[in-house]
Each structure stands twice: as C-alpha cells, then as structure tokens.
Amino acid sequence: MSAALIWIILPGIAGLLMILLRNSGPRLFLVSAVFSLVLTWIAWQIPIDSAMQLGPATLKISSTLTILGRDFTILDNERPMIGLIFLSATLWQLGGYLARPTPLFIGISHIIVALLVAALSVEPFLYAAMLIGIAVLVSVPLLSSPGKPPGAGLLRFITFQLFGIPFILFVGWLLTGVEASPGNVSLVLRAGILLGLGFVFLLAVFPFHSWIPMLAREGHPYIVGFLLLFLSSVVSLFALSFFDRFVWLRETELVFQLLIAVGALVSLLGGTWVAVQNHLGRQMGYAIVYEIGLLLMALGLAGHQSVQLTFGLIIARSIALLIWAIALSGLWQATDKSLIIGDLKRKATKHPFLLSGLVLAMFSFGGLPLTAGFAPKYALLISVWVHSPLAGAATLIGSVGLVIGGLRIVFVLSSLQLLEQTSASDEPILQDSSNELLSDIENPFAWLYLVVGGGLIVLIGLFPQLFFGNLASFLSVFSQLSP
C-alpha cells in the first residue's frame, strides 16, 4: 500500500462515490467528515516506509507511487502537513452540515483535496501547477447555480488560475539551466520573472486579485471560503518548496525584499478594502487578499521562520475562515442571498449568534489579542518590522482595516431592537432536520456554532502555545529551510 493510494486515490474515489450519493441528505456531510478524520488519524499515527505489525499481518505504507513514469511521493516527515490538510478538510466538511452548501460540495471537496495533496507530492514538483489547475476546473460546478448565468468572477477565476500554469512549467525547464550555471545572471533573471508571474496568478496577488471579491459576491460563501483557503494554502506551500529546493533562490536577497514589499502592499490594500465594503461576501474576499499579503511576507522572511509562520497563519486562518464562512452561509439564507450590511439590521434580532461569530472571525483575521489570529500575526509583524518598518506599518494598517470591518458589524449588533417581532417571511437559517424556522436562541445548532466555533477562536487566543507550540514539527517538511 502506498501513501498516495491512501491520501490521493482513496479520497478521489470517495469523492466520486459521494457525488453519486449526493441526494442522501445532510448526514452525508457527517460521513464525509468521518472519512477525512480517519485519513487524518492515519497521517498522525501510522509511519510511512516502516513496517507495522497488525495482528498476524504486516502493514507497510510505501512513500512512492509511480504513475506514467512520474512519482507521487509522500515522505514520513510530511505526515504533519498531510494531517493538517485532512484535519482542515474534516472541519470544513463538518461545518458543511451547518452551512448546507450544494450537495455536490461533499464529493467535489474530497476530489479537490486529493488533487491538492497530489500537487504537493508529485515529482518533478513543478507539475503541481497542472494539478492545481485541474482542481480549479473541478471546482466550477460548485460555483455556478442551475438556472442562473455564470458570473464574471467565475470566468476570471478560471482564467487567472490557469494562466499560472504555463509560467510555472516554463520555469521548471529554465531552472535546469540555472542549476547548471548559477552565474548566468540573465537566465536567473528570466527564471525569477517567470516564477514571479506564475505565483502572481496562482496566489491572486494584486492586481490579479479582482476575481476573489467578485467570486465572493457571486458564489455561496461557504464554498468560496473553502476554495480560497485550500487553494491559497497549497499554493503557498508550493512556493515554500521552491525556496527549499533551489539554492540560488534562497541566496537572492532581492527576492525576499520584493516578497515583503509586495506582501505589505497586498495586505494594506486587502485590509483597507475590508473596512469600506458594504457586502459581507466581498469583505471575506478582501480578507483573503489581506491574508495572501501576509503569506507573501511570511515567505519573504526566509529560512525556518518562513515555514513556521506560513503554517501558523494557515492554521489560524483555517479556523477563523470556517467560522466566518458558516456565519455568512446562515446570513446568506436569511437575507435572501443579498449579504448587504444594511440588510442585516432587519435580521440581527434573529441571528445574534451568527453575527457574533462573524465579528470574532473578523477580529481573528485582524490579529486582535485573545483571538486565534493574534499569535502568528504578532510574530509576523514583529519580524517584518525588523526588516522594514514601512512594511510593518502597512500590515498594521491592513489589520486595522479588518478590525474596522468587524466594528461595523458590532454597530449593527448594538442597534438591535430585542423586542422587535421578527417577520413571518424570514428565511430559515441553520435549519434543523424538521426544517422549522428558528431564531438563533431557539436553534441548538446556532448554540453549538457559537460555543464551539467562537470558543475555539478564543481558546486558541488564550492558549496559543497549545496550538502553535508544535509548529517546529513542520520544519522537517522543508529541510533546507530548517536551522
């Protein structure tokens, strides 16, 4: 049995099966989450390339699977990373039970995760760009609703993400030349420019970010959140592997300065846009743009610091974005898919828990103390400030933008008229199995959401060492970047 069979082929097949069984009802979300949890447990507990005695049988997971002459390799030191991906998938599939995106989400999310794990394990690793491109194409049915023409954001999303592939593939060919003659400045410059362009498209860096807020406005917030989280996280890990593998890239100081400068600009713009948006979906989209800026800066810090901060940011973001996306999904149904901040006042009396979760998630994105995002963002800010106070200030302004965005929701909450009667025509939100119309106070799932989701954000904020203390275990994934 090979690792690729467990974490790539098996989820892929499960995804196909779940697409066929998509009409089995919301319990399929739970089955799907349990399946991902089992894969997480295997990644956590069972070593790769070591024989294990299971009763009379011996089990050995081999690291490599060869397909069409190329290897898909998942090494033992990559298990924490694989475990993190599947744990995150588990949480998002579990959250799907509350958010109720299209039933296709269950199956397609498994296929997307399988493709992204394949992207991180393929050798030569540059082929990852093609697998990411296929994942983008697979996600399209999730982002378009029957009976409605597809939005402009969807077409732009497909186009820009696919544009990254040619650049990355050409870099692969150029890099063989660079490795043979690292002194050839023009060759290094060409490779650097193509590499930069490839990642500008794949990571949706300004000015190629426009599809993110467009998609966040057009699509189901939960699906958009899932896609943006997984795509940007895997692409940033893919970017880290470039630094891990190519000495010339690690030794070019200009690359790191550029990453910090661009990252600061992107986070400044993203955060500022969050503050001024009137649409909650677009706010989430721009918050992701802000996070992409932070990821670029984390990459720009170089060495082991970049690895730890990248994983720290991904962990904090996975949780905060999940809470954010569930809240928006509920409000999306309640406000008849409008998500305009002005429309919230009418609904706020009925859904204070969702709005509270939303605010907590936004504060966590902004890196406010006592929230999950504080520890990694504070560490990043301190490190960036040492390199460039200007970049640090830009990041701080971006962060303030997110907090202002959250405060605007708090203002809506503070204007609640608790005695106001709710309209009989209100849409259901976080429905229970009997499809009754429930306000948050009456809805056990809303309580569960606030206690577990909101509690998790605060718990991580209070005890960051419990959740971020083990970041060093990710260092072995990128051994050349370790001290």
């Binding site: 697998l131 296929i134 194409l137 029957p146 009976g147 597809p150 077409l155 186009t159 050409f170």
Partner: protein, 197 residues
C-alpha cells in the same frame, strides 16, 4: 527547406484560424477554426515529440472541439443567440494586426532565448497565445473566453513541447484542455438547467 515550407504553411493556417476565432460570429466557423488550429498545433508539436505522444494533443483537442460544438448546438436550439457586434469588427482586425506585428518582432528572438524551440514553433506558439489573450480580453462571453483559453494553451503547448517530452505532462495537459472544454460546455448549459432546491 522542406521544414521551412511546412512551418510557413502551418503558421498561415494558424493565423487564419486565430483570425476566424476573433472576427467571425457564427459559432460553426469558429468551432471549425478551432479544430483546424489543433491540427496546425499538432504538426508543430510533431517536430519535437514522437507521433504517438503528439497525437494525444490532437485527439484531446478535437474532443474538446466536439464537446463545445455539440453543446453550442444544443444551446442554440433552445433559443440563445450570440449578439453580433459589427462595429467592433475593425477594432478586432486592427488589434489582431497589432498582435501579429508583435509576434513578428518577438518570435525570431525566442529560439536564442530557448534553444530547442524552432522559429516556426515560436511563431505559431506566440501567435496563438497572443490571439487567445486578445479573445479573452475583448469578450466576456463564455464561448469566446473558452476559445481564448484553449488557444492560449495550444500556443503554450507548442512552445513547451520543444523543451519537455514527458508522458505525464502530455496527459495532464490533455486533461486540462478537456477540462476547459467541459467547463465551457457546463457553463453554456447551466443557465437553462432547472434549479433544484
């Protein structure tokens, strides 16, 4: 000498197909042009790849064309018609002329930049990339955008075939081409699908 003649013929064919995709409004002409474009790309890829591997590109491309053609035919039957924009015709032709001029200027230098790429491949590849980008930039309609994306990828594949001959790459790029066509077909029909709550 013979290779140069073939390259010239193929480059002319690609220019014709790219112009048809950009200027013509009738989807039948455009689908035919795309099919011919894949044939031209196949001949250029054949300079670098063995026949059996290069054939993958041709087959995948023609499958993509078939998917889009059949879907578009079905969509038309149910009443959707693309708008004609005659006033944009001159603008499109002039834009295409600009792209062709840039390609003429850049293509001869590409083999010096990436030695395995021949001048014919550089010309054909860059032309398809440029015209594909133009298609993508000038229209937000689904079919035109998908044609543009497929053209860009065809152009890229011509250039990339000269530097990389991996079976997995050929397979994955074929999957991407087919995936783009299937996505295009899906997006064409989805406005007419019934909403299931």
């Amino acid at each position: 000498m013979q290779t140069e003649i073939v390259e010239f013929v193929i480059s002319t064919l690609l220019l014709g197909t790219a112009l048809t995709l950009l200027v013509m409004q009738d989807w039948r002409w455009r689908v035919t042009a795309l099919a011919l474009q894949y044939l031209g790309a196949f001949v250029l890829v054949l300079q670098s790849w063995p026949l059996e591997l290069a054939a993958v590109k041709l087959v995948a491309g023609w499958m993509a064309v078939t998917v889009l053609g059949f879907t578009r035919q079905g969509v038309e039957k149910s009443g959707t018609k693309e708008m004609l924009v005659p006033t944009g015709l001159l603008f499109r032709v002039l834009s295409a002329a600009l792209v062709v001029t840039v390609v003429f200027a850049v293509a001869p230098g590409l083999p010096a930049w990436a030695a395995p790429i021949s001048t014919g491949q550089a010309w054909g590849g860059l032309l398809l990339i440029g015209m594909g980008l133009l298609n993508l930039g000038l229209s937000s309609r689904i079919l035109t955008s998908i044609f543009g994306l497929l053209s860009v990828f065809s152009g890229f594949e011509i250039l990339y075939a000269a530097v990389e001959a991996s079976t997995l790459v050929a397979g994955l790029l074929a999957v991407i081409n087919l995936g783009i066509a299937l996505v295009g077909a899906y997006l064409l029909v989805i406005p007419q699908m019934e909403r299931v709550e």
